[in-house]
């Protein structure tokens, strides 16, 4: 119908599409199209990382020619993958490498749903640059009574087949204009995974500006990939790596990530981009802190781990 929004059209055809404010604010009606460029008016308020994937707001879109839609959940790829490596990174985190097709679709920093042969499905972040390295790397924290953790420890081996769906999420490196700005990445535990991917991407794209990665843990044995990150920092002058723990046994700096974050906020907070990963309470607190310190709300990206 003329002058009818995509949302109204869906509702009129009895498609119960999620929505709330119908004013282009709440983003409940997020929907996607990858066939053609989307009018920026329909993408108002969305982060760059979603805009670039063709996401837009159904309540704001009034197309003048036919538009083919994809429900965001169904839109992503689902494909088979095979485990090529399973190795411990520390006392409770393992690294998994997956071989699969179309690696260029799996964006460093986004996350995927991994489904095993028993039908159990969990979300994990992409910790590397699949297109460059030839595999998808995941960091998985093993949980005492976890269904997936149990499967990974007892059943999964090299050559085990899994299904992956995705990628999802708006936490990835995006700098289409090759602008120069400082980046601060803060995470706890396996929050390191997406942040590491983003750091690697930024470095490989010759990002101009200081890159600081703060990795927090409760105690010394929670830190992992310490040597690799120290090496990376020694190669790149503009990359700084800061591991810290709440209670040290002598290996790492004893500090909490909230204080460290404020310490490493550069003087030009206005152009800085900050990425934050971890449990909700932690990411909420960090985001508010950096926002109050002057970082623009449009430059704060987060990935919440449940």
């Amino acid at each position: 119908m003329e002058d009818e929004s995509v949302l109204d059209c869906l509702l009129r055809n009895k498609v119960d599409y999620p929505n709330a404010c119908r004013s282009g604010v709440c983003q409940a009606c997020l929907i996607k199209n990858t066939d053609r460029p989307i009018e920026s008016k329909w993408q108002e308020g969305l982060p760059e990382t979603l805009k670039s994937q063709g996401y837009f707001l159904a309540c704001q879109a009034k197309p003048t020619s036919p538009l083919y839609l994809k429900d965001p959940d169904a839109a992503e790829c689902e494909q088979e993958a095979v485990i090529t490596e399973l190795s411990p990174l520390n006392h409770n985190v393992i690294r998994i490498k997956l071989l699969t097709e179309n690696l260029e679709n799996w964006i460093p920093g986004q996350y995927l749903n991994l489904m095993n042969s028993n039908g159990a499905s969990r979300s994990y972040s992409i910790a590397n640059i699949p297109a460059k390295e030839g595999y998808i790397e995941l960091h998985i924290k093993l949980k005492a009574n976890g269904v997936m953790s149990h499967w990974l420890q007892k059943t999964a081996t090299v050559d085990t087949m899994v299904h992956i769906r995705g990628p999802f999420g708006k936490c990835y490196y995006i700098n289409p204009d090759h602008s120069s700005f400082d980046m601060l990445l803060v995470g706890t535990g396996t929050g390191l995974a997406p942040l590491l991917a983003i750091v690697k991407t930024a470095l490989s794209e010759q990002h101009q500006g200081k890159i600081t990665l703060i990795h927090g843990g409760c105690q010394d044995n929670d830190i992992y990939l310490n040597e690799e990150l120290q090496t990376l920092a020694s190669f790149y002058d503009h990359f700084e790596y800061v591991p810290c723990v709440l209670k040290t046994s002598g290996l790492y700096l004893e500090a909490n990530i909230f204080n460290e974050t404020l310490r490493y906020l550069s003087s030009n907070t206005h152009t800085m981009q900050v990425y934050v990963c971890g449990p909700k309470e932690t990411t909420d607190r960090l985001k508010t802190k950096v926002f109050l310190a002057g970082v623009s709300s449009t430059k704060i990206f987060s990935d919440v781990f449940f």
């Binding site: 404010c21 119908r22 004013s23 604010v25 709440c26 983003q27 108002e44 308020g45 909700k280 309470e281 990411t283 909420d284 985001k287 508010t288 926002f291 109050l292 623009s296 709300s297 449009t298 704060i300 987060s302």
Partner: protein
Amino acid sequence: MSKSLFERLGGQNAVNTAVDIFYRKMLTDDRVSHFFDDVDMEQQIQKQKGFLTLVFGGPNNYKGKDMREGHRHLIKRGLNDTHVDIVIEHLGATLQELGANQKDIQEVAAIANSVRDDVLDR
């Protein structure tokens, strides 16, 4: 042809610029900051943008019902007229920082006042 309030203030761009300034004022004001404890600032920014679009005279579909439901849980935590006054105060200060003139600021305040009873569920 005379421009609308929303156009004079700068439309959606003005909302995007104003929201960070306005929300920071709210978060650093002890009289109202406690209403924002434990929130995801990303989500809050979205809501504040909706609010600013509304009071800047921009396009919106907010109904009185939405304002009531949206603030009900805060009324339980003591939301009252004083807080609404403080919001209007910060709105004015934000607009002044952005160079809006007094007349327009007053028009914005009037729109904000017009939803007072909805916000306070009266």
